[in-house]
């Protein structure tokens, strides 16, 4: 089973890295990270921190763009291009197919974030000093965030076309970054019913801010390990839950 999963994941990775679109986005991302060095010329205050902040923000933004862009057609693309016929007619379960595709996508995103992280490190080391360890912890948590975002994109791609899936995934991304605000504004509401709805939404929807320690990384602040471990556990469990939904949906689909 592990070998079949590996074959599916490796094939997804290989397809992705041979796609020119990936390189276009990656090239643009590296360009924006490099441009962060210019921001120190047009800023006041702590210039080094601004450069670090813009660079880390660019890594997070382009990681999220790639996660959404590649994830929304992960399963749908296989069905539309009918490549799925020659795979699911082999002794492969549908859940294994979805999981294999997802793991392949995560391999791709890991490599992409690693390249962006390397560019960031080289530029920062050349201009300032070697970035502190907390920067890499924040990149690790970014990977957990991308894991969760990709699982949502995978779920939507099991039953909807890329344009619709893109809309849904973007909505989850935006709402997920506003989860704390939903809680805050909800708790200020007078109506108990509205408060209950706001709290239910807070618990059901993903909270991407759990993974955001970029501000602390830029200011080189200490992060308690329970925050990191909690974010990791939350991200893994939530992603597993969303992936199970994706497998359940795909299991019931007829492939036209």
């Amino acid at each position: 089973m592990i070998r079949k999963l590996w074959a599916l994941a490796h094939n997804t990775f290989r397809e992705a890295v041979r796609d020119r679109i990936l390189y276009s986005i990656l090239f643009f991302a590296v360009g924006v990270i490099a441009l962060s060095l210019v921001t120190q010329e047009i800023t006041v205050g702590d210039r080094d921190k601004v450069v670090r902040s813009v660079g880390l923000g660019a890594v997070a933004a382009f990681g999220s763009i790639m996660s959404m862009f590649l994830g929304i057609s992960l399963v749908w693309g296989e069905v539309e291009k009918k490549t799925v016929y020659t795979i699911l007619s082999k002794p492969i379960s549908r859940w294994m197919f979805v999981l294999g595709k997802y793991l392949g996508m995560m391999m791709t995103l890991s490599v992409v974030v690693a390249i962006m992280g390397l560019v960031y490190t080289v530029l920062l080391s050349a201009q300032q000093t070697f970035p502190p360890a907390i920067v890499y912890v924040s990149m690790g948590l970014l990977m957990v965030e991308l894991m969760l975002l990709t699982s949502w994109a995978t779920l939507f791609s099991t039953y909807s076309a890329p344009t619709t899936a893109a809309g849904f995934t973007l909505a989850v991304f935006v709402i997920g970054h506003l989860a704390d605000d939903i809680w805050l504004y909800g708790s200020q509401l007078e109506s108990p019913a509205a408060r209950a709805i706001a709290r239910a939404l807070y618990w059901v929807l993903p909270n991407f801010e759990m993974f955001n320690i970029r501000a602390q990384a830029v200011h080189e602040m200490a992060i308690p390990w329970p925050v990191v471990v909690g974010g990791l556990g939350y991200g893994l469990m939530y992603s597993a839950g969303v992936l199970c939904c994706a497998m359940w949906v795909f299991e019931r689909r007829d492939l036209k």
């Binding site: 599916l8 041979r18 291009k81 016929y85 020659t86 082999k90 002794p91 019931r252 007829d254």
Partner: protein, 253 residues
């Protein structure tokens, strides 16, 4: 002996459009295909041939009846372990080469590396693709893709080969190659189950045929018995199509 393919009252009703209108793709298909047999499934467009094959390959879920491959329910992925399948117009990963894609499929069958290597090279040579084995499939012609499709269907030396319109759109050379490969498999004692519009090929290859019209099985048996006193298989098929005139029998409920 356990049949290679067995279906009992197999049926599929689709829900289409905004109002989820019911459209019958296949109804009450009962047949057995014995090991070592070459079996042809024929019928006009929309007869339910591809629907039946997709259910057997686990790509569609049946809404009525049941089906088994070598006694294992088609809903279980392991039922496809001894099966090689060539879909109508096979599509592959365009960025991969023929050699890469065949190794990938071999991994999905759990084939050991050495055996995979041996079978891939043997089949690539057999379908005359050696020169193009390291060219990405995006640059392949339709006939070349069909040959890659045949290779992936035969890769693990399956006991049952299911082919959906294997000659469709091929030039005479390609058709001859596919026909020879099917005959080779039949001579090796493999079960061959295929759908086709090209009745002369069906007559040349098959022991038995089933005629599907409007999603229903109209005739099934040895070719000689099915043709009986009629001119040929084409005359039989045209006769069955003429007999099905009312709209419900053409698939609309």
């Amino acid at each position: 002996m356990t049949p290679a393919i067995s279906t009992q009252n197999l049926g599929k009703t689709y829900r289409v459009g905004f109002f989820m209108r019911r459209v019958r793709g296949l109804h009450d298909l009962t047949l057995d295909v014995q090991p070592g047999e070459a079996f042809g499934l024929i019928g006009p467009n929309g007869a339910g041939k591809t629907t039946a094959i997709k259910i057997l390959m686990g790509l569609h879920r049946s809404t009525e009846g049941a089906a088994q491959l070598f006694g294992v329910d088609v809903g279980v992925p392991a039922s496809r372990q001894r099966v090689g399948f060539l879909p109508e117009r096979p599509y592959f990963y365009a960025h991969l080469t023929a050699r890469e894609v065949l190794h990938f499929y071999g991994q999905l069958f759990g084939m050991p590396k050495a055996l995979r290597h041996q079978r891939v090279e043997m089949l690539i040579e057999r379908v005359a693709l050696t020169r193009f084995a390291d060219v990405t499939l995006a640059k392949y012609s339709k006939g070349m893709l069909q040959r890659v499709g045949l290779c992936q269907a035969l890769l693990h030396d399956p006991d049952l080969i299911v082919l959906d319109e294997p000659m469709s759109g091929l030039d005479p050379l390609g058709r001859a190659l596919v026909r020879d490969l099917i005959l080779e498999q039949r001579a090796a004692g493999k079960t061959v189950f295929f759908s086709s519009h090209i009745l002369s090929d069906v007559e040349a290859i098959c022991d038995r045929v089933a005629i599907l019209v409007g999603g229903e099985l109209r005739e099934c048996g040895l070719i000689a018995d099915v043709v009986a006193d009629r001119e040929n298989l084409e005359a039989v098929l045209l006769g069955e199509m003429a007999a099905v005139t009312d709209e419900s029998a053409l698939g609309v409920l």
